[in-house]
Amino acid sequence: MLEVAGIGKDYRVDGGVFTAVDSLSFHVAEGELVCVVGPSGCGKTTLLRMCAGLLAPTRGTARVDGRDVDGPPEGTAVVFQEYGRSLFPWMRVGANVELPLKRLGLTRAERRDRVAEALRLVDLEGKEQVWPWQLSGGMQQRVAIARAVAFRPRLLLMDEPFAAVDAQTRADLEDLIRDLWSRLGITVVFITHDIDESVYLGQRVLVLSSPPTTLRAEIHIDLGPDRDQLDTRSAPAFAKLRAAVWREIQAAKRGAA
Protein backbone atom coordinates (compact mmCIF):
# COMPACT_ATOMS: atom_id res chain seq x y z
CA MET A 1 0.00 0.00 0.00
CA LEU A 2 2.58 2.52 1.17
CA GLU A 3 6.18 1.85 0.40
CA VAL A 4 8.89 4.20 1.55
CA ALA A 5 12.30 3.53 0.05
CA GLY A 6 15.42 5.37 1.17
CA ILE A 7 13.50 8.60 1.53
CA GLY A 8 15.39 11.63 2.85
CA LYS A 9 15.08 15.39 3.12
CA ASP A 10 17.73 18.08 3.43
CA TYR A 11 16.97 21.68 4.31
CA ARG A 12 19.22 24.56 3.45
CA VAL A 13 19.92 26.60 6.57
CA ASP A 14 22.24 29.62 6.78
CA GLY A 15 24.32 28.44 3.90
CA GLY A 16 24.71 24.97 5.37
CA VAL A 17 22.69 21.84 4.85
CA PHE A 18 20.61 20.28 7.60
CA THR A 19 19.69 16.67 7.03
CA ALA A 20 16.26 16.35 8.62
CA VAL A 21 15.60 12.86 7.34
CA ASP A 22 18.61 10.84 6.30
CA SER A 23 17.22 7.67 4.85
CA LEU A 24 14.04 5.88 5.80
CA SER A 25 12.60 2.71 4.42
CA PHE A 26 9.49 0.87 5.54
CA HIS A 27 6.38 -0.73 4.20
CA VAL A 28 2.77 -0.43 5.29
CA ALA A 29 0.46 -3.20 4.12
CA GLU A 30 -3.09 -2.71 2.93
CA GLY A 31 -5.44 -2.29 5.90
CA GLU A 32 -2.68 -1.87 8.47
CA LEU A 33 -2.63 0.70 11.28
CA VAL A 34 0.94 1.83 11.81
CA CYS A 35 2.11 4.42 14.31
CA VAL A 36 5.28 6.45 13.86
CA VAL A 37 6.96 7.85 16.98
CA GLY A 38 10.26 9.53 17.61
CA PRO A 39 11.90 12.18 19.74
CA SER A 40 10.70 15.71 19.12
CA GLY A 41 12.24 17.34 16.08
CA CYS A 42 12.99 14.02 14.44
CA GLY A 43 11.25 14.86 11.18
CA LYS A 44 7.97 12.99 11.72
CA THR A 45 5.97 15.73 10.04
CA THR A 46 8.52 15.97 7.24
CA LEU A 47 8.10 12.25 6.65
CA LEU A 48 4.32 12.50 6.57
CA ARG A 49 4.38 15.47 4.22
CA MET A 50 6.60 13.54 1.83
CA CYS A 51 4.23 10.56 1.92
CA ALA A 52 1.27 12.90 1.34
CA GLY A 53 2.96 14.44 -1.69
CA LEU A 54 3.05 17.86 -0.04
CA LEU A 55 6.83 17.98 0.13
CA ALA A 56 9.32 16.69 -2.43
CA PRO A 57 11.98 14.39 -0.93
CA THR A 58 15.64 15.17 -1.53
CA ARG A 59 16.31 11.49 -2.19
CA GLY A 60 14.48 8.21 -2.25
CA THR A 61 10.81 7.69 -2.98
CA ALA A 62 7.46 7.08 -1.40
CA ARG A 63 5.11 4.86 -3.36
CA VAL A 64 1.39 4.55 -2.84
CA ASP A 65 -0.31 1.62 -4.57
CA GLY A 66 2.87 1.06 -6.54
CA ARG A 67 2.93 4.58 -7.96
CA ASP A 68 5.67 7.08 -7.10
CA VAL A 69 4.37 9.98 -5.07
CA ASP A 70 5.14 13.17 -6.98
CA GLY A 71 2.10 15.09 -5.75
CA PRO A 72 -0.78 14.24 -3.45
CA PRO A 73 -1.74 10.67 -4.40
CA GLU A 74 -5.33 9.81 -5.32
CA GLY A 75 -7.38 8.18 -2.59
CA THR A 76 -5.32 9.63 0.23
CA ALA A 77 -6.63 11.85 3.02
CA VAL A 78 -4.61 13.77 5.58
CA VAL A 79 -5.64 14.91 9.04
CA PHE A 80 -3.40 17.64 10.40
CA GLN A 81 -2.56 18.54 13.96
CA GLU A 82 -3.88 22.08 13.62
CA TYR A 83 -7.55 21.21 13.33
CA GLY A 84 -8.61 24.81 13.96
CA ARG A 85 -6.65 25.96 10.95
CA SER A 86 -7.33 23.10 8.59
CA LEU A 87 -11.10 23.65 8.60
CA PHE A 88 -12.45 26.51 6.52
CA PRO A 89 -14.14 29.06 8.79
CA TRP A 90 -16.18 30.46 5.88
CA MET A 91 -17.98 27.15 5.46
CA ARG A 92 -20.36 25.42 7.79
CA VAL A 93 -19.43 21.96 9.05
CA GLY A 94 -21.43 20.21 6.31
CA ALA A 95 -19.78 22.23 3.54
CA ASN A 96 -16.35 21.58 5.02
CA VAL A 97 -16.92 17.83 4.92
CA GLU A 98 -18.47 18.02 1.47
CA LEU A 99 -15.81 20.11 -0.28
CA PRO A 100 -13.40 17.26 -1.18
CA LEU A 101 -16.33 15.19 -2.50
CA LYS A 102 -17.21 17.78 -5.10
CA ARG A 103 -14.70 16.54 -7.63
CA LEU A 104 -15.64 12.88 -7.28
CA GLY A 105 -18.56 13.04 -9.70
CA LEU A 106 -21.20 12.32 -7.07
CA THR A 107 -24.73 13.66 -7.18
CA ARG A 108 -25.80 16.23 -4.66
CA ALA A 109 -27.87 13.62 -2.82
CA GLU A 110 -24.95 11.19 -2.69
CA ARG A 111 -22.70 13.88 -1.31
CA ARG A 112 -25.27 14.81 1.30
CA ASP A 113 -25.61 11.18 2.36
CA ARG A 114 -21.87 10.74 2.66
CA VAL A 115 -21.57 13.90 4.74
CA ALA A 116 -24.39 12.81 7.05
CA GLU A 117 -22.90 9.34 7.41
CA ALA A 118 -19.41 10.62 8.13
CA LEU A 119 -20.70 13.06 10.75
CA ARG A 120 -22.68 10.25 12.35
CA LEU A 121 -19.54 8.07 12.49
CA VAL A 122 -17.68 10.75 14.42
CA ASP A 123 -20.66 11.36 16.67
CA LEU A 124 -21.57 14.75 15.22
CA GLU A 125 -24.84 13.73 13.68
CA GLY A 126 -26.91 16.61 12.35
CA LYS A 127 -24.22 19.25 12.88
CA GLU A 128 -24.08 20.20 9.19
CA GLN A 129 -25.31 23.73 9.72
CA VAL A 130 -22.99 24.58 12.61
CA TRP A 131 -19.96 26.82 12.01
CA PRO A 132 -16.60 25.18 12.84
CA TRP A 133 -15.59 27.89 15.29
CA GLN A 134 -18.70 27.19 17.35
CA LEU A 135 -17.30 23.76 18.22
CA SER A 136 -14.76 22.73 20.84
CA GLY A 137 -11.28 21.71 19.76
CA GLY A 138 -12.02 18.00 20.00
CA MET A 139 -15.19 18.41 17.97
CA GLN A 140 -13.36 20.42 15.33
CA GLN A 141 -10.84 17.62 14.98
CA ARG A 142 -13.74 15.18 14.62
CA VAL A 143 -15.04 17.33 11.77
CA ALA A 144 -11.62 17.08 10.13
CA ILE A 145 -11.74 13.31 10.63
CA ALA A 146 -15.28 13.20 9.19
CA ARG A 147 -14.03 15.12 6.16
CA ALA A 148 -11.38 12.46 5.63
CA VAL A 149 -13.83 9.60 6.24
CA ALA A 150 -16.48 10.99 3.85
CA PHE A 151 -13.80 11.08 1.17
CA ARG A 152 -13.43 7.29 1.64
CA PRO A 153 -9.66 7.25 1.30
CA ARG A 154 -7.73 4.03 0.99
CA LEU A 155 -4.84 5.62 2.87
CA LEU A 156 -5.33 7.93 5.83
CA LEU A 157 -2.32 9.91 7.03
CA MET A 158 -2.59 11.55 10.43
CA ASP A 159 -0.05 14.06 11.72
CA GLU A 160 -0.22 14.23 15.53
CA PRO A 161 -3.94 14.82 15.25
CA PHE A 162 -4.62 14.73 18.98
CA ALA A 163 -1.59 16.66 20.25
CA ALA A 164 -3.63 19.78 20.93
CA VAL A 165 -6.71 18.34 22.67
CA ASP A 166 -7.23 17.58 26.34
CA ALA A 167 -6.57 14.10 27.77
CA GLN A 168 -10.19 12.94 28.06
CA THR A 169 -11.06 14.04 24.51
CA ARG A 170 -7.89 12.45 23.34
CA ALA A 171 -8.85 9.04 24.73
CA ASP A 172 -12.24 9.32 23.00
CA LEU A 173 -10.65 10.26 19.70
CA GLU A 174 -8.18 7.38 19.94
CA ASP A 175 -11.05 4.94 20.32
CA LEU A 176 -12.81 6.67 17.43
CA ILE A 177 -9.80 6.08 15.18
CA ARG A 178 -9.54 2.41 16.18
CA ASP A 179 -13.24 2.03 15.54
CA LEU A 180 -13.22 3.76 12.13
CA TRP A 181 -10.14 1.84 11.08
CA SER A 182 -11.61 -1.56 11.92
CA ARG A 183 -14.99 -0.65 10.40
CA LEU A 184 -13.80 0.94 7.18
CA GLY A 185 -10.80 -1.26 6.48
CA ILE A 186 -8.59 1.63 5.50
CA THR A 187 -4.83 1.86 5.85
CA VAL A 188 -3.78 4.32 8.55
CA VAL A 189 -0.40 5.89 9.22
CA PHE A 190 -0.58 7.71 12.52
CA ILE A 191 2.20 10.04 13.60
CA THR A 192 2.50 10.91 17.27
CA HIS A 193 5.04 11.90 19.87
CA ASP A 194 3.06 10.09 22.55
CA ILE A 195 4.45 6.64 23.33
CA ASP A 196 1.29 5.36 25.06
CA GLU A 197 -0.85 6.54 22.19
CA SER A 198 1.33 4.76 19.63
CA VAL A 199 1.16 1.47 21.56
CA TYR A 200 -2.55 1.76 22.23
CA LEU A 201 -3.44 2.51 18.61
CA GLY A 202 -0.99 0.67 16.44
CA GLN A 203 -0.55 -2.81 15.15
CA ARG A 204 3.03 -1.81 14.63
CA VAL A 205 5.11 1.07 15.92
CA LEU A 206 7.98 2.54 13.94
CA VAL A 207 10.49 4.36 16.12
CA LEU A 208 12.54 7.03 14.40
CA SER A 209 15.97 8.24 15.49
CA SER A 210 17.02 11.85 16.08
CA PRO A 211 18.13 13.75 12.96
CA PRO A 212 19.60 12.80 10.61
CA THR A 213 16.64 10.50 10.96
CA THR A 214 16.64 6.82 10.19
CA LEU A 215 14.34 3.98 11.22
CA ARG A 216 15.56 2.97 14.64
CA ALA A 217 13.24 0.14 15.58
CA GLU A 218 10.08 -1.58 14.56
CA ILE A 219 7.92 -2.99 17.31
CA HIS A 220 4.97 -5.28 16.75
CA ILE A 221 2.07 -4.57 19.06
CA ASP A 222 0.45 -7.92 19.76
CA LEU A 223 -2.38 -6.59 21.89
CA GLY A 224 -5.14 -8.02 19.74
CA PRO A 225 -7.87 -6.19 17.88
CA ASP A 226 -10.10 -5.23 20.82
CA ARG A 227 -8.58 -2.48 22.87
CA ASP A 228 -9.96 -0.63 25.81
CA GLN A 229 -8.69 2.52 27.47
CA LEU A 230 -8.80 0.94 30.90
CA ASP A 231 -8.04 -2.77 30.43
CA THR A 232 -5.56 -2.50 27.59
CA ARG A 233 -3.62 0.30 29.19
CA SER A 234 -3.35 -1.55 32.51
CA ALA A 235 -2.37 -4.88 30.95
CA PRO A 236 1.18 -6.13 31.63
CA ALA A 237 1.72 -6.66 27.91
CA PHE A 238 0.94 -2.99 27.31
CA ALA A 239 3.46 -1.92 29.94
CA LYS A 240 6.11 -4.15 28.38
CA LEU A 241 5.55 -2.77 24.89
CA ARG A 242 5.40 0.75 26.21
CA ALA A 243 8.74 0.21 27.96
CA ALA A 244 10.25 -1.19 24.79
CA VAL A 245 9.23 1.87 22.76
CA TRP A 246 10.32 4.16 25.56
CA ARG A 247 13.79 2.61 25.71
CA GLU A 248 14.23 2.99 21.99
CA ILE A 249 13.26 6.66 22.13
CA GLN A 250 15.55 7.35 25.07
CA ALA A 251 18.38 5.71 23.19
CA ALA A 252 17.45 7.70 20.10
CA LYS A 253 17.64 10.94 22.09
CA ARG A 254 21.10 10.04 23.34
CA GLY A 255 22.05 9.19 19.79
CA ALA A 256 23.23 5.73 20.82
CA ALA A 257 23.42 3.12 18.14
Partner: protein, 256 residues
Protein backbone atom coordinates in the same frame (compact mmCIF):
# COMPACT_ATOMS: atom_id res chain seq x y z
CA UNK B 1 -34.34 46.40 20.31
CA UNK B 2 -32.98 48.69 22.98
CA UNK B 3 -29.45 48.22 21.70
CA UNK B 4 -30.55 48.96 18.13
CA UNK B 5 -32.16 52.22 19.26
CA UNK B 6 -29.02 53.05 21.21
CA UNK B 7 -26.82 52.32 18.20
CA UNK B 8 -28.96 54.47 15.93
CA UNK B 9 -28.90 57.28 18.45
CA UNK B 10 -25.13 57.03 18.78
CA UNK B 11 -24.62 56.92 15.03
CA UNK B 12 -26.87 59.87 14.29
CA UNK B 13 -26.14 61.90 17.40
CA UNK B 14 -22.86 63.47 16.37
CA UNK B 15 -23.91 64.38 12.79
CA UNK B 16 -27.10 65.93 14.18
CA UNK B 17 -25.14 67.87 16.79
CA UNK B 18 -22.62 69.12 14.23
CA UNK B 19 -25.41 70.11 11.88
CA UNK B 20 -27.11 72.04 14.68
CA UNK B 21 -23.83 73.68 15.66
CA UNK B 22 -23.23 74.76 12.06
CA UNK B 23 -26.81 75.95 11.77
CA UNK B 24 -26.73 78.21 14.83
CA UNK B 25 -23.14 79.36 14.52
CA UNK B 26 -23.71 80.49 10.94
CA UNK B 27 -27.25 81.82 11.52
CA UNK B 28 -26.22 85.47 11.71
CA UNK B 29 -23.38 85.19 9.21
CA UNK B 30 -23.03 88.01 6.74
CA UNK B 31 -19.82 86.64 5.25
CA UNK B 32 -20.05 86.13 1.51
CA UNK B 33 -17.98 82.94 1.63
CA UNK B 34 -19.61 81.39 4.68
CA UNK B 35 -23.35 81.90 4.22
CA UNK B 36 -25.79 80.71 6.91
CA UNK B 37 -26.58 76.99 6.71
CA UNK B 38 -30.23 77.93 6.29
CA UNK B 39 -29.31 79.70 3.06
CA UNK B 40 -27.34 76.65 1.89
CA UNK B 41 -30.18 74.21 2.56
CA UNK B 42 -32.65 76.56 0.87
CA UNK B 43 -30.30 76.65 -2.11
CA UNK B 44 -29.96 72.88 -2.03
CA UNK B 45 -33.49 72.17 -3.16
CA UNK B 46 -33.26 74.76 -5.90
CA UNK B 47 -29.86 73.69 -7.18
CA UNK B 48 -30.23 69.94 -7.23
CA UNK B 49 -33.14 69.66 -9.60
CA UNK B 50 -33.94 66.42 -11.42
CA UNK B 51 -32.09 67.80 -14.47
CA UNK B 52 -28.97 68.38 -12.40
CA UNK B 53 -29.20 64.90 -10.98
CA UNK B 54 -29.43 63.54 -14.49
CA UNK B 55 -26.71 65.75 -15.98
CA UNK B 56 -24.21 65.95 -13.12
CA UNK B 57 -24.80 63.52 -10.27
CA UNK B 58 -25.61 60.39 -12.25
CA UNK B 59 -22.69 60.73 -14.71
CA UNK B 60 -20.35 61.16 -11.75
CA UNK B 61 -21.71 58.14 -9.95
CA UNK B 62 -21.68 56.11 -13.17
CA UNK B 63 -18.00 56.91 -13.79
CA UNK B 64 -17.21 56.08 -10.17
CA UNK B 65 -19.07 52.78 -10.47
CA UNK B 66 -17.28 51.90 -13.71
CA UNK B 67 -13.85 52.86 -12.39
CA UNK B 68 -14.38 51.16 -9.07
CA UNK B 69 -15.68 47.92 -10.60
CA UNK B 70 -12.79 47.81 -13.07
CA UNK B 71 -10.33 48.44 -10.22
CA UNK B 72 -11.83 45.65 -8.12
CA UNK B 73 -11.79 43.18 -11.01
CA UNK B 74 -8.22 44.04 -12.06
CA UNK B 75 -6.92 44.40 -8.51
CA UNK B 76 -8.29 41.07 -7.32
CA UNK B 77 -7.30 39.15 -10.46
CA UNK B 78 -3.75 40.52 -10.54
CA UNK B 79 -3.46 40.33 -6.77
CA UNK B 80 -4.30 36.62 -6.77
CA UNK B 81 -1.84 36.00 -9.59
CA UNK B 82 0.97 37.90 -7.86
CA UNK B 83 0.14 36.51 -4.42
CA UNK B 84 0.20 32.92 -5.71
CA UNK B 85 3.37 33.25 -7.82
CA UNK B 86 6.42 33.67 -5.67
CA UNK B 87 8.80 35.02 -8.33
CA UNK B 88 6.19 37.42 -9.62
CA UNK B 89 5.70 38.72 -6.10
CA UNK B 90 9.40 39.40 -5.60
CA UNK B 91 9.60 40.95 -9.05
CA UNK B 92 6.67 43.30 -8.62
CA UNK B 93 6.77 44.17 -4.93
CA UNK B 94 9.03 47.25 -5.13
CA UNK B 95 7.20 48.56 -8.20
CA UNK B 96 3.82 48.15 -6.52
CA UNK B 97 4.97 50.04 -3.45
CA UNK B 98 6.23 52.82 -5.70
CA UNK B 99 3.02 52.97 -7.72
CA UNK B 100 0.96 53.06 -4.55
CA UNK B 101 3.02 55.96 -3.21
CA UNK B 102 2.37 58.19 -6.23
CA UNK B 103 -0.56 60.50 -5.36
CA UNK B 104 -3.14 59.73 -8.07
CA UNK B 105 -4.20 63.38 -8.75
CA UNK B 106 -0.78 64.13 -10.22
CA UNK B 107 -1.52 61.55 -12.86
CA UNK B 108 -4.54 63.44 -14.16
CA UNK B 109 -2.61 65.59 -16.67
CA UNK B 110 -0.64 62.54 -17.78
CA UNK B 111 -3.75 60.44 -18.25
CA UNK B 112 -5.36 63.31 -20.18
CA UNK B 113 -2.51 63.06 -22.66
CA UNK B 114 -3.44 59.58 -23.80
CA UNK B 115 -7.04 59.15 -22.64
CA UNK B 116 -8.35 62.52 -23.80
CA UNK B 117 -10.81 64.47 -21.72
CA UNK B 118 -13.90 62.27 -21.94
CA UNK B 119 -15.42 59.67 -19.67
CA UNK B 120 -12.51 57.34 -20.45
CA UNK B 121 -10.02 59.75 -18.89
CA UNK B 122 -12.11 60.25 -15.77
CA UNK B 123 -12.64 56.53 -15.33
CA UNK B 124 -8.92 55.94 -15.91
CA UNK B 125 -8.09 58.48 -13.19
CA UNK B 126 -10.37 56.67 -10.77
CA UNK B 127 -8.80 53.32 -11.66
CA UNK B 128 -5.29 54.76 -11.31
CA UNK B 129 -6.00 55.45 -7.65
CA UNK B 130 -8.42 52.69 -6.68
CA UNK B 131 -6.56 49.72 -8.06
CA UNK B 132 -3.54 49.93 -5.71
CA UNK B 133 -5.13 49.40 -2.31
CA UNK B 134 -7.20 46.53 -3.74
CA UNK B 135 -4.22 44.98 -5.49
CA UNK B 136 -1.83 45.29 -2.55
CA UNK B 137 -4.35 44.04 -0.02
CA UNK B 138 -5.28 41.12 -2.26
CA UNK B 139 -1.61 40.16 -2.60
CA UNK B 140 -1.15 40.36 1.18
CA UNK B 141 -4.40 38.47 1.78
CA UNK B 142 -3.54 35.68 -0.65
CA UNK B 143 -0.07 35.32 0.84
CA UNK B 144 -1.48 35.10 4.35
CA UNK B 145 -3.91 32.24 3.65
CA UNK B 146 -3.31 29.50 6.25
CA UNK B 147 -0.69 27.06 4.92
CA UNK B 148 -2.61 24.21 6.59
CA UNK B 149 -5.70 25.14 4.57
CA UNK B 150 -3.66 25.11 1.37
CA UNK B 151 -2.13 21.76 2.37
CA UNK B 152 -5.63 20.43 2.99
CA UNK B 153 -6.75 21.60 -0.44
CA UNK B 154 -3.67 20.05 -2.03
CA UNK B 155 -3.96 16.75 -0.13
CA UNK B 156 -7.58 16.34 -1.25
CA UNK B 157 -6.51 17.31 -4.77
CA UNK B 158 -9.14 20.01 -5.05
CA UNK B 159 -7.56 21.29 -8.24
CA UNK B 160 -6.48 24.78 -9.14
CA UNK B 161 -9.88 26.38 -9.76
CA UNK B 162 -11.65 24.92 -6.77
CA UNK B 163 -8.70 25.76 -4.52
CA UNK B 164 -8.86 29.32 -5.80
CA UNK B 165 -12.60 29.76 -5.39
CA UNK B 166 -13.21 27.74 -2.23
CA UNK B 167 -9.98 28.36 -0.31
CA UNK B 168 -7.73 31.18 -1.56
CA UNK B 169 -10.33 33.87 -2.30
CA UNK B 170 -12.42 33.34 0.85
CA UNK B 171 -9.24 33.12 2.91
CA UNK B 172 -8.01 36.40 1.47
CA UNK B 173 -11.42 38.06 1.50
CA UNK B 174 -11.07 39.99 4.79
CA UNK B 175 -8.00 41.74 3.39
CA UNK B 176 -9.59 42.21 -0.03
CA UNK B 177 -12.60 43.90 1.53
CA UNK B 178 -10.29 46.16 3.54
CA UNK B 179 -8.59 47.19 0.31
CA UNK B 180 -11.93 47.79 -1.38
CA UNK B 181 -13.02 50.00 1.49
CA UNK B 182 -9.88 52.13 1.18
CA UNK B 183 -10.36 52.26 -2.58
CA UNK B 184 -13.92 53.53 -2.23
CA UNK B 185 -12.80 56.62 -0.33
CA UNK B 186 -10.04 57.25 -2.85
CA UNK B 187 -12.53 56.73 -5.69
CA UNK B 188 -14.88 59.43 -4.44
CA UNK B 189 -11.99 61.89 -4.17
CA UNK B 190 -10.73 61.06 -7.66
CA UNK B 191 -14.23 61.23 -9.10
CA UNK B 192 -14.37 64.87 -8.03
CA UNK B 193 -10.76 65.69 -8.92
CA UNK B 194 -11.07 64.23 -12.41
CA UNK B 195 -14.07 66.46 -13.05
CA UNK B 196 -12.19 69.57 -12.12
CA UNK B 197 -10.09 69.21 -15.27
CA UNK B 198 -11.68 69.75 -18.66
CA UNK B 199 -15.14 68.46 -17.84
CA UNK B 200 -18.61 69.29 -19.10
CA UNK B 201 -20.57 67.49 -16.44
CA UNK B 202 -20.30 65.95 -13.03
CA UNK B 203 -20.44 66.87 -9.38
CA UNK B 204 -16.89 68.19 -9.28
CA UNK B 205 -17.51 70.17 -12.44
CA UNK B 206 -20.72 71.70 -10.99
CA UNK B 207 -19.02 72.67 -7.73
CA UNK B 208 -16.11 74.35 -9.54
CA UNK B 209 -18.58 76.17 -11.78
CA UNK B 210 -20.54 77.47 -8.81
CA UNK B 211 -17.34 78.63 -7.20
CA UNK B 212 -16.16 80.43 -10.34
CA UNK B 213 -19.52 82.16 -10.74
CA UNK B 214 -19.54 83.16 -7.08
CA UNK B 215 -22.67 81.07 -6.41
CA UNK B 216 -21.32 80.35 -2.96
CA UNK B 217 -24.44 78.82 -1.30
CA UNK B 218 -24.85 76.52 -4.33
CA UNK B 219 -21.17 75.54 -4.05
CA UNK B 220 -21.65 74.70 -0.39
CA UNK B 221 -24.77 72.70 -1.23
CA UNK B 222 -22.70 70.68 -3.71
CA UNK B 223 -20.10 69.97 -1.05
CA UNK B 224 -22.89 68.88 1.30
CA UNK B 225 -24.26 66.59 -1.40
CA UNK B 226 -20.81 65.07 -1.93
CA UNK B 227 -20.56 64.38 1.78
CA UNK B 228 -23.94 62.70 1.77
CA UNK B 229 -22.98 60.65 -1.29
CA UNK B 230 -19.81 59.52 0.46
CA UNK B 231 -21.72 58.57 3.59
CA UNK B 232 -24.34 56.68 1.53
CA UNK B 233 -21.63 54.76 -0.33
CA UNK B 234 -19.92 53.89 2.95
CA UNK B 235 -23.24 52.61 4.32
CA UNK B 236 -23.77 50.57 1.17
CA UNK B 237 -20.28 49.18 1.52
CA UNK B 238 -21.01 48.10 5.07
CA UNK B 239 -23.97 46.09 3.77
CA UNK B 240 -21.66 44.46 1.22
CA UNK B 241 -19.04 43.79 3.91
CA UNK B 242 -21.60 42.15 6.20
CA UNK B 243 -22.84 39.97 3.36
CA UNK B 244 -19.43 38.81 2.16
CA UNK B 245 -17.67 38.52 5.51
CA UNK B 246 -20.56 37.50 7.75
CA UNK B 247 -18.61 34.39 8.77
CA UNK B 248 -15.56 36.50 9.60
CA UNK B 249 -17.45 38.96 11.79
CA UNK B 250 -19.40 36.20 13.50
CA UNK B 251 -16.28 34.18 14.14
CA UNK B 252 -14.57 37.17 15.73
CA UNK B 253 -17.63 37.98 17.79
CA UNK B 254 -18.30 34.43 18.96
CA UNK B 255 -14.83 32.99 19.40
CA UNK B 256 -13.67 33.16 22.97
Amino acid sequence: MVTLARKTLLALGLPAALFALWWFASAGSTSFYFPPLSAITAEFAETWTPERWRDDVLPSVARLAAGYTASAAAGIALGVLIGRTRWLFHLTEPVLEFARAVPPPVLVPVIMLFAGIGDGMKTAVIVSGCVWPILLNTVAGVRSVEPVQLDTAAAFRLGRNRTLLAVVLPGASPRIVTGMRQALAIGVILMVVSEMFAAQSGLGFAIVQFQRSYAIPAMWSGILLLGCLGAALAALFTVFDRAVLHWHHRQRAEEV
